[in-house]
């Protein structure tokens, strides 16, 4: 129960930090994406199923509050968490290179899909403009933020949640 509560709090706090603080430190209108980092971290530290659920609820919050079709962001973040869960077994605790690599790749994937699903289909075909002006800056900014924030997530999860996650564990089995 306590662990679940901590996960819920992590999702909520990350969400409102993303909507306030991250927007406050935006450079040139581009802010880093803390939610991608959260989903990637969850998948890496707690396995596929847990990453999947964290991603789903994070995305659902975004969908509900900002007028996307419910399910779009939920599905995107869910897959980020799920895919990073594949690296759960081969990941070392003190290694920060893999999380950074995954978060950067995940951010690119997320933005590329948003572009493909929501922008390209509306006839905005100038992909390279968006790549240069939105996707790449956000990737770089997220990369830097991962280096700073990942350890924090790591500490929260490992300090407050004394539980050894199995890959097959879903959130519902976390006590």
């Amino acid at each position: 129960m306590r662990n679940k509560l901590i996960l819920v709090l992590m999702v909520l706090i990350s969400f409102f930090l993303q909507c306030t603080l991250m927007k406050g430190i935006a450079i040139g209108g581009i802010s880093p994406n803390l939610l991608v980092i959260l989903c990637i971290s969850a998948g890496l530290m707690m396995g596929k199923t847990c990453g999947l659920f964290i991603g789903f609820f994070t995305g659902l919050l975004v969908d509900l509050f900002y007028g996307y079709y419910p399910g779009t962001n939920a599905a995107l973040y869910m897959y980020l968490g799920f895919i990073s869960g594949f690296f759960y077994q081969i990941y070392y605790d003190d290694d920060i290179k893999l999380p950074i690599l995954l978060a950067t790749a995940g951010d690119f994937l997320y933005n590329f899909l948003i572009f493909a699903l929501l922008f390209l289909l509306q006839g905005n075909t100038d992909f390279f403009f968006y790549l240069r002006r939105v996707i790449l800056p956000e990737m770089i900014y997220t990369l830097v933020l991962t280096a700073l924030v990942y350890r924090l997530y790591y500490k929260i999860i490992h300090r407050f949640m004394r539980v050894k996650f199995k890959d097959s564990d879903s959130l519902w089995f976390v006590k």
Binding site: T20, T49, L52, N111
Partner: protein, 290 residues
Amino acid sequence: MKKKRNIRMKSKHMIILMTILCISMAAGAFATGISGDSARTVVGYVIVPFEQGINTIGNWLLSVQDNFQNVKKLAEENATLKTQVEELTVQNNELTQNQKDLTRLRELYNLDQEYSQYPKIMAEVIAKDPGNWYHTFTIDKGRDDGVNVNSNVLAGAGLVGIVTEVGSNWAAVRSIIDDDSNVSAQISETEDPCIVTGNLELIDSGKVEFSQLQSPEGKVSIGDRVVTSHISDRFVKGLLIGYISEIKQDSNNLTYNGYLVPAADFQHLQKVLVITDLKENPREEDQNAQ
């Protein structure tokens, strides 16, 4: 302790199940137009106070900067005056528009019709869209304060956007520079209709596009005021959108397109005014009646 459940889903089954859930949610919302209103209200109660808190801290930090030379009083006074100036500017714009309309209507119909003064409430911007693709933001006033979906939002001198989602104590506003935004507009002087569209590709210049302007040649020029049109079904009439900065003829030689400089300052949005009156619209009344 509760007995462990026997059914243990594998993660790959789970992801397939959840994907289907996501798709059906999107399809359901698309088909019915309903999207988790109760969930939104509940989560709103949890998140909005935090956002307001963070916003208060941010504002406090800003004011600490301001108070560097112990001018707290002045800053406070300044804030109230600024609010007043914003309201007065909006009022003034309306009055200018009113005056022109009044003259025209008197001329045409020998009638004197007046705009109702739109009732407005002040709201604070407390959060923004988490991604970088859309220009949507959250304000700290909601259904309880009289804000509704399709309420128009103003700041400073001009139109900022329209409410797209509303909870009991918050509302999401899509700004006119958002890529999904379309506003039915008209040139203030000539009353020629056009469409004002946001475009993310103009992120650096901060402008918005207009298109499908039908106007006799030479009538419309750079610097002309563009306001919301009377044929719009969501925007109340006569709100200032911006000024024309660039105009070119379309290849069909009939219509014009170009760019506007928005009257509102989107870089420094802190306080906005929400018009609590909706544009009267029979279709909406039908929907409400159902």
